[in-house]
Symmetry: C2
Subunit: 376 residues, 2 copies
């Protein structure tokens, strides 16, 4: 295969799986080329167990990157490298929660993060997300509030500046922790960048979680947590005990990629590609599916939600779609309680324009058929 | 650098750090060469999040290897791939324990495993290790017993066949779990191989933990747990939630290395090297340090314990040694309670013969000086 495009064989993942970036074989080759140098040069000492908080040059590279790109304000020693965002979430839950502590959690929300908090003994309080993001629970005390302010998962809305200020004030007043999951924030198309909550936090209440799964590829299993200075030591110790430290050679390779500018170039390239694919999908939904769904959320990320009418059983649609070879998770499964909105969650970043068109055509047939009444 | 030996620059790690294998640059090159092929061939689908229990070909390769080499009896689907032994231990602790559950733990024992069980809420019961290994607590009920039967950490003794049978019977009778930490068992020099406890377990009470840190290098962060069939599903789910899955490209590379026989050849080569180094160290201890210490433990692994007399403060020796540029952890720090034996834990696998000789000479001077009475 040639030239940086994703080959036919790399487009096997089904429309419209969620949260999967496109695999860029060119970038994988760059990764490997850089790792060759890293393998050759790395000192023997660095191939031992290494520091609990992660490989120092990677912590420095991340700190230098997320300042300008995400408005995160931190020193390198506030960064703990993790084995991806989920391992970060487990670490955060383990450290911030005692059994029975309340966790304000976005409803609908990211189920695997919810599981991590529940596994650590948290009492989940599902809290509605509206057009402005999480509705800040002014009167409620909780140990933690989990939010995805840059691109709510799964709805896709962006938390407004007003809500952000309210949330930060609430956390400061009640001594709660805000866990900011910044999973795909680097993909923003057109609309204005809102910096991370972490950057506006004056009281040291925000724990910021980032991942490389979306910009690079999920199998890489590298992420990070940015913590207030007082939490650095306990986080590093817990990371040692729970064995979450990722392999040093991968950390060193990523540090080198960021330092050499490969990461920024790759990101820019991906951003253009995904902006185009999002445009293709939203246009097709508007032209082919407007009788059934409307596009929700902000112009950002790797997925969108096609909102269905309240009379439509989104699980039945998803089930029928699955039989037709499509993967479109129903919105209702992201609720811990009773769903308030129905729809389909649709990832597009890993697909070709052709696959998107074919997927939308299949979906149109299914929705038309279901709207016409029960089969037979 | 040339020819498979460890270069001078790779011998920087101090004598006698514990648990560190020699870095083999030749093997690192082989690893990288194989990973080149893996990078080129891996299907896009495999670079997504992947299965919760790990990369299937690696699970198959491990099952095929540990049967003959360690006497572990399992199917590939009983293997969960982890990010090293410590992550495995955290996973095991999280799944097998409820807060307050008793954990029978070797005394002295491996502190980081003890921390993992304590972090999961376990009530640690330090249980003496004698010349035959852990003294099986016939009358006591506990949820878990943690053991290192092939090479007790840190004492180096091997659990006898009699004790193994008693331990298995105890676990079956009391429905307890035995956690077998098989951390450096593949390094056995001369003495007869005793298969893993897991292979003798007829009641499905043993959870077996293995790691690649010792045969390859610690920075690789790859290990595994072998669980009874009934635990496969909960372990895989917990691994998904806690984010412990290691990177797929590393898993695929290791699978390929094992399948092509590189792993077995590397292991054989290391075994010869370490057997020689162990011989050098024990000879030097006998010739230069016999007035102060005796060598404990079985002819296996990457470290030994030099036992000191009961009148010697091993922490003071270690402290003095540290100032002289030696790292020899005192045995007493491995006790949760009051130490019963004093000594120095000495790793040798990462050193050259020259470094071992120099280290022993320094240590002789220190011990002679301390025996002569307080300085000044």
């Amino acid at each position: 295969m040639v030239g940086g495009n994703v080959s036919a064989s790399d487009d096997l993942v089904r429309a419209f799986n969620v949260g999967i970036p496109a695999l860029d074989r060119d970038f994988l080759r760059t990764w490997h080329r850089v790792s060759t140098v890293v393998h050759r040069r790395i000192p023997a000492d660095d191939l031992n167990y290494g520091g609990a908080a992660g490989f120092a040059p990677l912590r420095e590279a991340i700190a230098a990157h997320i300042g300008p790109s995400r408005g995160v304000r931190c020193r390198p020693d506030q960064i703990i490298i993790t084995s991806g965002a989920q391992q970060a979430m487990a670490l955060v839950a383990q450290l911030l929660l005692d059994p029975g502590d309340r966790v304000i959690f976005e409803e609908p929300g990211y189920h695997l993060a919810r599981c991590a908090f529940a596994a650590a003994g948290g009492a989940i309080v599902p809290t509605p997300v509206g057009d402005e993001g999480l509705q800040v629970p002014a009167g409620m005390a909780a140990r933690v509030a989990y939010v995805t302010p840059s691109h709510q998962y799964p709805l896709g809305v962006r938390m407004t500046a007003r809500r952000r200020v309210q949330l930060l004030e609430w956390a400061e007043r009640t001594s709660a922790w805000i866990v900011e999951d910044d999973y795909d924030s680097e993909f923003r198309y057109g609309s204005r960048m809102l910096p991370a909550l972490q950057g506006a936090d004056r009281a040291g209440r925000v724990v910021h979680v980032g991942t490389f799964s979306k910009v690079l590829f999920p199998a890489i299993r590298l992420g990070y947590v940015v913590v207030p200075p007082a939490l650095v030591e306990p986080f590093a110790r817990a990371q040692l005990v729970n064995g979450g430290r990722p392999p040093v050679l991968e950390q060193a390779t990523l540090a080198e990629l960021i330092a050499r500018g490969h990461y920024a170039r790759h990101l820019a390239k991906r951003r253009r590609r995904y902006a185009n694919l999002r445009g293709v999908l939203t246009s097709l939904i508007r032209s082919r599916l407007s009788a059934h769904m409307t596009v929700m959320g902000d112009d950002t990320g790797l997925h969108l939600v096609g909102r269905l009418g309240p009379e439509v059983d989104d699980r039945a649609v998803a089930d029928r779609a699955r039989k037709a070879g499509l993967s479109v998770p129903p919105l209702s499964i992201y609720y811990a309680g009773v769903p308030a909105i129905f729809g389909l969650v649709m990832g597009y970043a890993h697909l070709s324009e052709r696959s998107i068109a074919a997927g939308v055509a299949k979906l149109a047939a299914i929705l038309d058929e279901l709207a016409a009444g029960p089969a037979r």
